[in-house]
């Protein structure tokens, strides 16, 4: 950024440069020096209540908060002295005094800041011999969230999130002293579509999600970044799956979707719709290749694809523009759209290329957009026309290729059935099982977006490339490979998919 001033300061004897206005904690973090903390979160102003980030600042008699001390030229900070070490140990000892130490049954274990900091900065013998305070361990605070007050360290990140980000303020601190506790106001539970972020920002196991509780352990999870496909914002997400075994009979692979960090798009948050996207990955998936609704045994998908190319080849070249129709969708990546255009428009010269997608929904004032697809801008960018099909567009055609499950959103079941019945050859490429699968000659299972790599262009025109976050279940193929397979079968050169 132009006009941003930097300053040089010394942290633990190292010269560190930082942007003016940054705090010592962030400056140290950027230099690879860990200053442990609980309450500080970069999305909020420093709160200073956990007291874990106390450091020595030359010239000041007391230990100071790294989270609230701004950097300045020549500042000398020490984070590894005996005083700092002792202060950290003392804070940890205080926090652990009444802590239930129920890590063996705590869902946060393995990714808990209290655990991590104790491991690295604590490791003292326990001196607390009093009876631990009993507090409520199962408080349902709304939106499928459970509050455990014994584990809570009162960092108030949750309270501040609801005040500063959603503006809904459902949680507050009640009572005082060691009796202080987080709670909702009577009859007014947490009720906003960003509530899932409370679990992400809780540094301990105080707020957990019903959807995740007791299902797996944090250390079994593989965490891979992706881009959320559930609206056109394109938020960074982390797909947290149990690696090692692919989907056996519909079992859960993805245990949760959490917020990724992307200052240009979503900051630190995602909405609950995106979080619920874990179901889109694991639930209702097309289980395998279907022929008229009957599972086809054996044979690679490439072999089945020859039936599709044969059906296309059967249509005389001059008839193809009018008698072959293709329905695409805006969950396809930019790379896939380029291939689709080269294959269907340039290669086959088709005129009937449509898009059928999930219907728009309501936007909110934070992140969620009206479009319930990730790549509407990518469609525009591809030069394909994003028009939805009319049923009469599908009348009198010989072959139909449908990508995705969007048709059902646009037409009544009965009308789709009637239309499909009149088409001699029809093929479906969908990730999820649907009511019309049996009407297609062949239904190919395909990958969902997190199982693909590619590029989406978000509502603001931000182009985001992402890698594959998890392996597609056996038999499910990314549409890009289907398109390449079709092109090969038809003898059409797609060129380099990355070059437009």
């Amino acid at each position: 950024m132009s006009g941003t001033k930097t300053v040089a300061l010394t942290i633990d004897g190292r010269t560190v440069t930082a942007v003016e206005g940054a705090n010592v904690l962030r400056a140290a973090e950027r230099a690879g020096i860990d200053i442990p903390h609980f309450c500080y979160h970069p999305a909020f102003a420093a709160e200073g209540n956990c007291r874990m980030c106390l450091v020595e600042i030359e010239g000041l008699p007391k230990l100071e908060l790294a989270c609230s001390t701004p950097v300045r030229e020549g500042l000398v900070v020490r984070t590894a002295t005996e005083r700092v070490t002792q202060a950290r140990r003392d804070v940890l000892e205080f926090l652990l005094a009444d802590h239930p130490l129920d890590c063996p049954i705590c869902d946060k274990a393995g990714e808990c800041k209290l655990q991590d900091h104790y491991d690295r900065y604590g490791r003292f013998p326990g001196r607390f011999v009093e009876a631990k305070q009993k507090k409520d361990k199962l408080v349902r605070i709304g939106r499928g969230l459970v509050l455990d007050r014994e584990r809570c360290i009162l960092c108030t990140r949750c309270v501040r999130f609801l005040r500063n980000v959603t503006g809904t303020g459902e949680l507050g601190v009640f009572e005082r002293g060691a009796r202080a506790e987080i709670g909702v106001f009577e009859g007014a539970p947490v009720d906003n579509s960003y509530a899932g972020n409370l679990v992400d920002i809780c540094p301990v196991g105080a707020i957990t999600a019903e959807d995740f509780r007791f299902r797996t352990r944090a250390w079994f999870l593989a965490r891979n970044p992706s881009v959320c496909p559930h609206c056109s914002r394109g938020c960074a997400v982390i797909v947290e799956s149990v690696s090692g075994y692919p989907l056996p009979g519909g079992k859960r692979r993805v245990y949760r979707i959490t917020a990724g960090e992307n200052p240009a798009v979503n900051g630190y948050w995602i909405c609950d719709l995106g979080r619920a996207g874990r179901r889109d990955i694991d639930e209702g998936r097309a289980a395998g290749l279907l022929k008229k609704g009957v599972p086809v045994d054996g044979g690679p998908w490439q072999k089945a694809l020859t039936e599709v190319t044969a059906a296309i080849k059967a249509v005389p070249v001059s008839d193809r523009p009018a008698r072959i129709a293709v329905i695409l969708n805006a969950r396809l990546t930019c790379e896939e759209l380029v291939r689709a255009k080269r294959l269907f428009v340039t290669g086959l010269g088709l005129g009937r290329v449509f898009f059928a997608d999930r219907k728009p929904g309501a936007a909110d004032s934070l992140l969620l957009t009206t479009e319930r697809v990730p790549n509407a801008r990518g469609v525009l960018d591809s030069g394909l026309e994003a028009r939805p099909p009319l049923l009469e567009d599908l009348a009198g055609i010989t072959a139909l290729l449908v990508f995705g499950s969007g048709l059902a959103e646009h037409f009544p079941e009965e009308a789709i059935g009637r239309t499909l019945a009149a088409i001699p050859s029809k093929f479906l490429f969908a990730a999820h099982a649907g009511p019309f699968d049996r009407l297609f000659d062949l239904a190919f299972p395909v990958a969902v977006p997190p199982e693909k790599s590619g590029t989406y262009i978000n509502v603001a025109g931000v182009r985001q490339s992402f890698g594959r976050a998890l392996v597609a279940p056996a038999g499910a193929v990314p549409e890009g490979e289907i398109l390449t397979g079709l092109a090969q079968g038809l003898g059409i050169d797609l060129g380099d998919p990355d070059v437009r």
């Binding site: 209540n49 956990c50 007291r51 007391k62 202060a87 011999v129 009093e130 060691a178």
Partner: protein, 415 residues
């Protein structure tokens, strides 16, 4: 003290009424300040007088006023701290009951000097019953043109709002007080920014104790030199000492700052009752580290008390007789801080509770070897590490009590 001295607590009949206050020369200083003095000169005079805050911290009042940025737009506020929650302290109450107009006059002068047009008197909830006279005084002053839109016919006006707390000690801490006035949970704010710059409703704010402001009319009326002739050079004027505990005449004594503790206890408060001797004294409200009987020569001013590793604090002098077990004192003290910690920051929230639970266990005859060292170590974990001064206010007196009366406490613990 000479006859000429201030009487913060007047004794005349109906002293709280406006007519009585006017008979005592009331509102003359405010009139002079508003009609004929420059605001900067008023601040300079109060600074020169060396008036130190009477709430406990002893911060120079005039200096505090001078921190408020001048020449910027937007409102500024004066908050009067009448939360008086420090155990052993009951001086502000007396001013509110006996001489509320003196406080109001001090407020008018302070507000005029700093350029403030709205003041809030934050009165502790427990004083709601006695606030009738304060309310009446505000109404009287408004009726007489000493408060309200135009004061003494000038352009200057001051509105006064009375706001009651709900019984939390922490709301006496100035930023928690601001939160409480704003309608939120009373919990201290992270500083900086300081209230003089970002205070009530994010506006520059002066927060002064009742007694501090009550001194202002005489400083302006009689001049800084007169004020400086009382007390010590660096710590001028008189203070209201609240004396309680093992003395014959507990009560409120207005005396020059810097008198020896022994003089206050023996000459003024009549010394301990028959058959009792002084074992210890808490000299400046519960949060002031305890002094032993052999430290009674210490003078009651901020510097002398600091040198004795205690503090002049709120001048609430609690005298502990030899029949009072120190374990009981420690129990009361630790219960108070555990009960009153706001719970916002870790060391104070857990530390005070842990200490209290340890003391309670000792008192129940379940003491363990090392308990006193544990208490000292927990106090060290609080001291200097908390978000607001309450951490030190809890840790230091507990530390001092355990250190100075370790022998007695050890004996009690073993019993």
């Amino acid at each position: 003290m000479s006859e000429d001295a201030v009487r913060l607590i007047p004794a005349d009949e109906g002293s709280w009424r406006l007519e009585a206050y006017l008979r005592r020369g009331g509102y003359e200083a405010a009139r002079r300040a508003v009609t004929s003095m420059a605001p900067a000169d008023i601040i300079a005079e109060v600074r020169r007088a060396g008036l130190r805050g009477r709430g406990g911290a002893g911060f120079p009042a005039g200096l505090k006023w001078s921190f408020v940025p001048q020449g910027v737009g937007g409102p500024k506020y004066l908050c009067v701290n009448a939360d008086e929650g420090e155990p052993g302290t009951f001086k502000d109450r007396a001013i509110l009951v006996r001489d509320p107009h003196r406080l109001l006059e001090g407020m008018v002068i302070a507000a005029f000097a700093v350029g403030i047009r709205t003041a809030v008197i934050y009165v502790r909830g427990e004083y709601e019953r006695i606030a009738g006279r304060l309310r009446a005084a505000v109404a009287e002053a408004e009726g007489a043109g000493f408060l309200g839109r135009t004061i003494f016919g000038s352009e200057f006006g001051l509105d006064v709002v009375i706001h009651f707390g709900a019984g939390a000690y922490i709301c006496g801490e100035e930023t928690a007080l601001l939160e409480s006035i704003e309608g939120r949970r009373g919990a201290p704010r992270l500083k900086p920014p300081f209230p003089a710059v970002v205070g009530l409703f994010r506006s520059p704010t002066v927060i002064n104790n009742v007694e501090t402001l009550a001194h202002v009319p005489s400083i302006i009326g009689r001049g800084a030199d007169w004020f400086m002739s009382l007390g010590l050079p660096k710590d001028c004027g008189t203070r209201l000492f609240s004396v309680s505990g093992a003395v014959r005449r507990p009560g409120l004594y207005e005396l020059p700052t810097g008198i020896p503790l022994r003089t206050l206890i023996e000459d003024h408060a009549g010394g301990p009752p028959e058959g009792v001797s002084v074992k210890a004294v808490i000299p400046g409200g519960l949060s002031a580290p305890v002094l032993r009987a052999d430290e009674l020569e210490t003078h009651l001013d901020f510097e002398s008390m600091a040198l004795a590793c205690s503090m002049a604090g709120s001048a609430g002098v609690i005298v502990i007789g030899d029949r009072t077990p120190m374990l009981e004192v420690l129990g009361v003290m630790s219960r108070f801080y555990a009960h009153e910690s706001c719970g916002q920051c870790t060391p104070c929230r857990i530390g005070t509770s842990w200490i209290h639970r340890t003391v309670t266990r000792i008192a129940a005859g379940q003491g363990r070897r090392g308990d006193l060292d544990l208490i000292l170590s927990l106090a060290d974990g609080i001291k200097g590490r908390t978000l607001c001064p309450m951490g030190d206010a809890a840790a230091l007196p507990i530390r001092a009590l355990v250190t100075k009366f370790r022998g007695e406490l050890e004996q009690a613990a073993e019993r």
